[in-house]
């Protein structure tokens, strides 16, 4: 995904648009925290793609530029989904037999640093945000998943739909048997 440009043109976003995007992300976070998975699926475009890559430790070479995020992407992701497989994963959480999430974990998604840019298509916005997913599970298991989201939102008559999400988690090794919550 292309890096955010600093040029004034690409950041010509109205206050209303900025607010609408923020409200969309907050609403989405609340739906997931409240386990409203069917409603959450309604926020996804039919051509939605969803990627959560693994991040590798890579060393900069002396005298060369610093390590970029792209240098750290290994290829094999934790999530590499489309709408159909996201539906399967979300439906599974409602079966009553998805034992890693039954009893369900308690999650709190904190979304911040929301930066809205014009997207590649005229009806699309490119949205960066930071995510802290705090999760309490069983009696005392606490996990934190922290990272950056790079989203593409499409403006439709029904409001925004999520067309593309890349979640760059900062961890190298996942310190849990279960990262089945959506990011």
């Amino acid at each position: 995904m292309s890096q955010a440009s600093n040029s004034a043109e690409s950041t010509l976003i109205s206050l209303e648009e900025q607010r609408a995007v923020e409200q969309f992300l907050y609403r989405e976070a609340r739906m997931l925290d409240d386990r409203q998975y069917t409603e959450w699926l309604g926020l996804l475009a039919d051509d939605c793609t969803y990627l959560v890559p693994t991040r590798e430790n890579v060393q900069a070479v002396r005298g060369k530029p610093p390590v970029t995020t792209e240098d750290e992407l290994a290829g094999l992701a934790y999530y590499e989904d489309d709408k159909l497989t996201l539906m399967a994963k979300a439906l599974r959480l409602g079966t009553g037999t998805s034992w890693s999430e039954n009893p369900p974990s308690r999650t709190r998604r904190l979304v911040s640093n929301i930066e809205v840019l014009r997207g590649e298509a005229p009806d699309e916005l490119l949205v960066y945000s930071n995510l802290v997913l705090h999760r309490s599970r069983r009696t005392d298991e606490v996990s934190q998943f922290v990272g950056q989201r790079r989203d593409v939102l499409r403006q439709t008559e029904k409001g925004f739909l999520l067309v593309k999400r890349v979640v760059l988690l900062d961890m190298n090794i996942c310190d849990s048997s279960h990262m089945g919550n959506f990011f």
């Binding site: 060393q59 989904d81 399967a88 599974r92 079966t95 996942c174 279960h178 990262m179």
Partner: protein, 435 residues
């Protein structure tokens, strides 16, 4: 990492299992003293899988891996030979490699600046003239080599025991089965990795699961069968498990659960197999390489598929999910799973993409199957460890019908049998009894 162990534990090892392995002490799954002894008697003597050759195609390519708890550096040298070194500077032990993979001429230790060639030899020694005599011998100050490195189907195995049997002899008949996934085409496989995640479980729990625990599937993975209600291919797959599934125990503690389909069946009926076969290009690809695979595997094996298997001690392979993985021990009640996806090297990109996506949908810590496995493996380890509970051994008595088979190597039974687990633990005990 190393700590001393109460010597009285030696007297207890023979009693940890009943004679035929039907009863297994819960202490295997949490006891810190047994864990300490395992490092020497199991992990320092076994062939441990560290990665695949396709991860390091060129001279200087390297990746970090692990043998037991210890970090190792796997590198291809200038002659094309794969070497495995301890990732511990011979000077003071600083890890000489602190990144997951890359390509380099030298490994540079960031503490005092010693540097090492791709072959591990000490290449650069700062202040050499001020510090050491003119004729100083550097030859025994290279990276510490793991003495034995051998490969099978490109899988790189290393062994700390210089006198160990060859990898081929160690794997024995496990190769006959591994070939059905890894050796279908002349070009072999390539891999993509690595997903890494930590589970609060002893390494033996995933090992016994993948050595042939078919009985867990319908309870542990009920959610998957629920979201595909009435899917006839799923039903067929489930029903055919009892008919075509075979659990096989092999010498050396290896084993697995395999499917032996009828001679006229080339479609395959592994649970979920229809999903991947329907992905763009995949069905056509599999059909187009069937003749080559049959030619290479022969009359019997062309019908054999790996569901899940364990290569002793901690390498597992799942055939229809295109993955192999290792459970690295990280403490008596902690494991780190490292998981790779494998695909035929010569498959079209579209097919590789579909197989990779099918893997991540189902397996790994975000996969629909494996999260629920992790839940159980942590629960088992925790549940084994109570003072009162640990006095009551686990029962591994299911399925007493295992025996020889006219076509398949090893001791063979139907799937609802725990004889492959008994075989795994009896091998573990045999090693633990050798000081």
């Amino acid at each position: 990492m190393g700590r001393s162990v109460d010597p009285s534990i030696e007297e207890e090892i023979p009693g940890l299992l009943s004679e035929d392995g039907t009863w297994v002490s819960r202490r295997l799954f949490f006891d810190a003293d047994l864990y300490e002894i395992e490092k020497h008697r199991v992990f320092a003597r076994s062939w441990l899988m560290v990665g695949h050759e396709s991860q390091i195609p060129n001279p200087g390519d390297f990746f970090l891996s692990s043998m037991g708890e210890e970090s190792v550096l796997v590198v291809r040298d200038n002659e094309g030979k794969v070497r495995v070194h301890l990732n511990s500077c011979p000077h003071r032990g600083m890890p000489v490699c602190r990144e997951d993979r890359g390509n380099t001429r030298t490994f540079y230790c960031v503490y005092h600046g010693w540097s090492f060639g791709r072959d591990g030899a000490l290449a650069g020694l700062p202040n050499q003239r001020a510090s050491y005599p003119k004729d100083f011998d550097k030859s025994n100050l290279g990276l510490i080599a793991v003495p034995r490195v051998e490969t099978y189907c490109g899988l790189i195995f290393a062994n700390h025991d210089a006198g160990a049997v060859s990898l081929d002899d160690y794997l024995g008949d496990a190769r006959w089965y591994l070939d059905t996934s890894l050796n279908r085409r002349a070009g072999g496989i390539e891999v993509l990795g690595v997903q890494k995640w930590r589970i609060g479980t002893n390494w033996k729990v995933p090992a016994e699961n993948m050595v042939g625990d078919v009985a867990h599937a319908s309870a542990s993975h009920a959610s998957i069968f629920q979201i595909a209600p009435g899917d006839p291919t799923f039903d067929l797959a489930l029903k055919s498990v009892l008919e075509y599934g075979r659990n096989v125990a092999l010498p050396g503690g290896h084993g697995g659960t395999y499917r032996v389909y009828p001679k006229d069946d080339t479609e395959g009926r592994m649970p979920g197999e229809h999903v991947i076969r329907e992905a763009p290009g995949v069905g056509e690809y599999l059909a187009s390489v069937q003749a080559e695979a049959e030619e290479r595997l022969g009359e019997v094996r062309k019908h054999v598929k790996i569901a899940t298997c364990t290569t002793f001690p901690n390498l597992f392979l799942l055939g229809s999910n295109f993955t192999f993985r290792v459970a690295h021990p990280r403490g008596p009640m902690k494991s780190e799973l490292w998981s790779w996806v494998f695909v035929d090297r010569e498959a079209p990109q579209e097919v590789k993409d579909a197989m990779r996506k099918f893997y991540t949908m189902t397996f790994g810590p975000g996969g629909m199957f494996e999260q629920d496995d992790g839940e159980n493996w942590e629960g088992v380890t925790y549940g084994a460890s109570g003072i009162e509970a640990s006095a009551h051994p686990f029962h591994y008595g299911a399925g007493l019908d295992a025996g020889p088979h006219p076509e398949l190597p090893g001791r063979v039974s139907t799937v609802y049998s725990e004889h492959t687990q008994r075989n795994l633990y009896l091998r573990w005990q045999e090693l633990m009894l050798q000081p």
